[in-house]
Symmetry: C2
Subunit: 244 residues, 2 copies
């Protein structure tokens, strides 16, 4: 039997970097709010057969309910208040997700994600327990830190090999058992995405004598256009791409 | 006395990723070729007091000469044929650059560079020997490689700390003595930019008993808009930004 599917869509932004008064998840793109577009990609990928948990800052929940009502946007959706960090937001949302299913965690501000990528990630997560999209790094990336005199210089013995470097995206899809277990870890500032939480959990589990590898995190080729809307330039590009 | 200034502008692209028949350095942006815009930023930064070495694929040298003639674009410019890789192209160009001066190496397809950043980098290179622009990485970046079964998975014990990760840009500015000495190294596939050549050279030199640190590579805050025109989307963004 096919496991049930869940989507946790994280819409935590306040719009400061975007320079708008409207939080970026509510900005319009081709006539719809970015958050609606993101959710619809998942609904369309599975003919509506996915439950949605939307995480919003407490102050924005009313506005989102109004938007859904006014735009007759209906789906099986739970609303959850965001926490202090992204980690706490996802942990809150996981309370609405049962064991024994597959759950995607997606940034609301990545509306350019494709149905194909979503389905591919759910398939891989069904097989391996965790699937994450990543694209090769286009830039030369270097590890730098301030030296004694405050100058930014290379960190010794921390050379990176460009061909090994990948930029990680969302949606990240997991067995809900694995993700819920991983989110029982105490918060760590190194948790920049869900895969970092799961990888830390798996590493610690395998360090114990009884540890055995049931799940692993696999990376799937993402899409350069599945970028995060962060600045006004990003929104301008998304508009160009949506309207073409 | 102020050291003389040189610019090596590397225009090696063939336009394959851009999907155009015109190489991207010749694409028009606000009525001028991208390559001309890039060179003019350096001329304007120093009231014309900089010599230019333009590196082009052999097939494009005629077209660039014609363009300069037709558009009355004149500056103290040497033309050099590109080599097999970027490393070989820069090494060819360095033959036109004397010792005892400061030399910038710049990607032709970064026309959005500002005069302020250029001057700041020349100042810092005058003090430290090498100055490179870098911006904090916006993405979560991870080291991945294929496992035995061909799946892309995290490389063990290669965790990256996001706050230490920076994306490196050009122009990279150097004492010409340092850069010419560094380019005497044999080619290595790890040389993805000029700073990587110089850092390798300085590391080896300091490994020898007589080694002493005269120069160091310092990183200066770059500019998010100083991006490389690689895809049609990049060009569309550059047009939006140029015309606004």
């Amino acid at each position: 039997m096919q496991a049930s599917r869940y989507l946790i869509v994280v819409a935590g932004g306040s719009g400061t970097r975007m320079g708008t008064s409207v939080p970026k998840q509510f900005l319009p793109l081709g006539g719809k709010a970015v958050l609606q577009i993101s959710i619809e990609k998942f609904l369309d990928a599975f003919d509506g057969d996915i439950r949605v948990v939307t995480v919003l800052p407490e102050d924005h929940i009313r506005a989102w309910k109004d938007y859904c009502y006014e735009n007759t946007f209906t789906c099986r959706q739970s609303l959850v208040c965001g926490g202090f960090t992204r980690f706490h937001s996802v942990r809150n949302a996981l309370e609405k997700v049962p064991r024994g299913c597959l759950v995607a965690v997606h940034d609301a501000v990545r509306p350019m994600v494709t149905q194909e990528l979503i389905r591919e990630l759910f398939d891989a997560a069904g097989t391996y327990g965790a699937a994450v999209p990543a694209i090769p790094c286009a830039d030369t990336v270097r590890c730098l830190s301030a030296d004694d005199s405050g100058l930014l210089v290379p960190i010794p013995d921390r050379e990176l090999v460009r061909s090994e470097l990948f930029a990680v995206q969302t949606p990240q899809v997991f067995s809900s058992d694995l993700l819920k277990d991983a989110y029982s870890l105490p918060y760590d500032t190194g948790f920049t995405d869900d895969a970092s939480v799961v990888q830390t959990y798996l590493r610690r589990k395998n360090d114990t004598p009884a540890g055995e590898q049931v799940h692993k995190v696999v990376y799937i080729k993402g899409d350069r256009l599945n970028f995060k809307l962060t600045t006004p330039d990003d929104l301008a590009i998304a508009k160009l791409l949506t309207e073409k």
